[in-house]
């Protein structure tokens, strides 16, 4: 009975906690497709202007060169341009020799060690634009673990404090979902959306007049197309 209990206990633990880590096979090639589209709206008094960009698709390949010093050495190739990045298992960027001097995006990283379902992991950074700091935080919540497909579903969202004042009211909502194959150690699919709104008004003493409202929405999706093993 104790043995059965212990066995069941272990199974229960693997369903509720898991260490999520990238695990690229040296020599393998991973092909991804990235799609994006956006629309925007501007409002002036009772006049509204809408604009929409068509869906754009880009493809890129990741080739794992080696694993050294606790980092995967990856060649990421897009449109005949290759960049090299050194990636830790949790997704943290250790180095990028081909992007020296380039302001890289704020990347999501997984927590080290076991991650419990419904547990939220935070990473924060000061995004620096034109000598102005803008604090930003990624919030990642492990929603579920599917042992059948070895898929972990993670919800992620960004918290950003955009600078604003009495005349410029802003909101930015960025959230998405990623499906991570924890057995193979790679992202199979991810979708995310960002919604931005700026409301601009004028204020003189006791008089406030709304002038313009500008909204921008964008949708993104990332999908693993295929994997070519070194064999």
């Amino acid at each position: 009975m104790g043995f059965i209990f212990l066995l069941n206990g272990n199974l229960m633990a693997s369903d509720s906690t898991k260490e999520l880590a990238f695990n690229f096979e040296t020599g393998s090639n991973y092909s991804y497709s990235y799609k994006t589209r956006s629309n925007s709206k501007s409002t002036l008094f009772d006049i509204t202007n809408n604009k929409e960009n068509k869906t754009k698709t880009a493809k890129f390949d990741i080739k794992c060169i080696a694993y050294q010093n606790d980092a995967f050495i990856l060649d990421i190739k897009k449109d005949n341009l290759t960049i090299r990045r050194y990636l830790k298992k949790n997704g943290e960027l250790k180095g990028s020799p081909s992007e020296v001097g380039v302001e890289l995006p704020f990347f999501i990283t997984f927590p080290n060690g076991n991650w419990k379902v419904s547990q939220t992991h935070k990473t924060s950074k000061n995004i620096r634009i034109n000598n102005v700091n803008c604090p930003a935080t990624w919030l990642l919540t492990l929603r579920s673990l599917d042992p059948k497909d070895s898929l972990a579903i993670i919800d992620f969202s960004a918290q950003v404090n955009l600078p604003q004042d009495q005349t410029r009211k802003k909101s930015l909502k960025l959230e998405g979902k990623v499906w991570f194959d924890y057995f193979k150690g790679n992202i199979t699919k991810a979708n995310w959306i960002s919604k931005y709104n700026l409301n601009f008004s004028n204020k003189e003493i006791a008089v406030i007049r709304d002038l313009w409202t500008i909204e921008t929405n964008s949708w993104h999706s990332l999908e693993l197309l295929n994997t070519e093993d070194k064999k």
Binding site: S38, S40, K41, I47, N53, S194
Partner: protein, 283 residues
């Protein structure tokens, strides 16, 4: 002789400054334009900063290369509309300034009575051979043309200011005019003591409604060229004596011009002063 350069310096800059002074005196569009430009600058600064932040967050996975794509930008429609407004307001300002500068008609009367283009050539009459070659007409016409250039009057485009104003107003559609009016109302609400916006709004609305005569005095000034030519063609072109000519002009009752009739132009200019109580002034 020593003071000649100083006098020349003062004369030139006074002459040049007169145009600028007139432009500033009758300026009714700058407050609104500066207000709109300032607001645009603030929004553009915000949009640029925020776009950079969004860009930093839009590629959240470190396995992704640079995938920056230009987002759709509906705010461009706002800036395009404002650019139309700036061009429109510049044209309106030009017409308004011309009308205000010459509306009294005093300059056209002075030119018709004093005939400075005759005076300036009277000293050369001793050279009879020059008179016979027809230089007199050329000099008088050249003087008139130079005067128009100095006054910034284009004899082609400024001849009919009504038409010019109608063409300017037609640059905007009905919706764009309505939005511009709402902009004016917003500006007036924020800055109730600013009278220039009321003058501007009144001028545009009057131009949209009626077709009164604008710029009659300018037409008189431009028409002087035909008068010069007609007078010259009516003489024998021989033995012209400027003094006799001027005496004839002075005694001629038809040149005793009245002030150009200000036909219903009062409605164009909202000359209200700041006598209204500013209810938003709490100081």
């Amino acid at each position: 002789m020593k003071k000649l350069p100083i006098y020349t310096f003062v004369f030139v800059f006074t002459f040049l400054g007169a145009g600028l002074f007139a432009q500033n005196l009758f300026d009714i569009t700058s407050p609104f334009k500066l207000w709109l430009l300032n607001n645009e600058a603030r929004v553009l600064t915000s949009l640029n900063f925020d776009a950079n932040v969004i860009e930093q967050l839009s590629s959240p996975f470190s396995i992704m290369p640079d995938t920056k794509e230009s987002l759709s930008n509906a705010s461009e429609d706002l800036w395009n509309l404002h650019r139309k407004y700036y061009k429109f307001l510049d044209n309106i300002q030009g017409i308004y300034t011309k009308v205000k500068r010459f509306e009294t008609g005093k300059l056209s009367i002075l030119l018709k009575r004093a005939r400075p283009e005759i005076w300036c050539f009277s000293g050369l009459e001793t050279f009879e051979i020059i008179l016979k070659t027809g230089v007199t007409l050329n000099i008088r016409e050249a003087w008139h043309q130079t005067m128009l250039q100095a006054l910034d009057i284009n004899p082609v485009t400024d001849k009919d200011l009504n038409n010019k104003l109608a063409n300017t107003l037609s640059q905007l559609t009905g919706t764009e005019k309505r939005i511009l009016s709402e902009y004016f109302a917003t500006f007036a609400a924020l800055y109730p003591t600013n009278i220039k916006i009321r003058q501007l709004d009144a001028f545009i609305k009057a131009g949209s409604r009626s077709q009164p005569n604008l710029g009659i005095a300018i037409q008189d000034i431009i028409h002087l060229k035909e008068v010069i030519r007609a007078e010259f063609d009516s003489t024998d072109n021989l033995g012209i004596d400027s003094l006799l000519e001027l005496e004839a002009i002075m005694s001629d009752s038809s040149t005793d011009s009245k002030l150009p009739q200000k036909q219903a132009t009062d409605q164009w200019f909202d000359e209200t002063t700041t006598d209204e109580e500013d209810i938003f002034n709490i100081w």
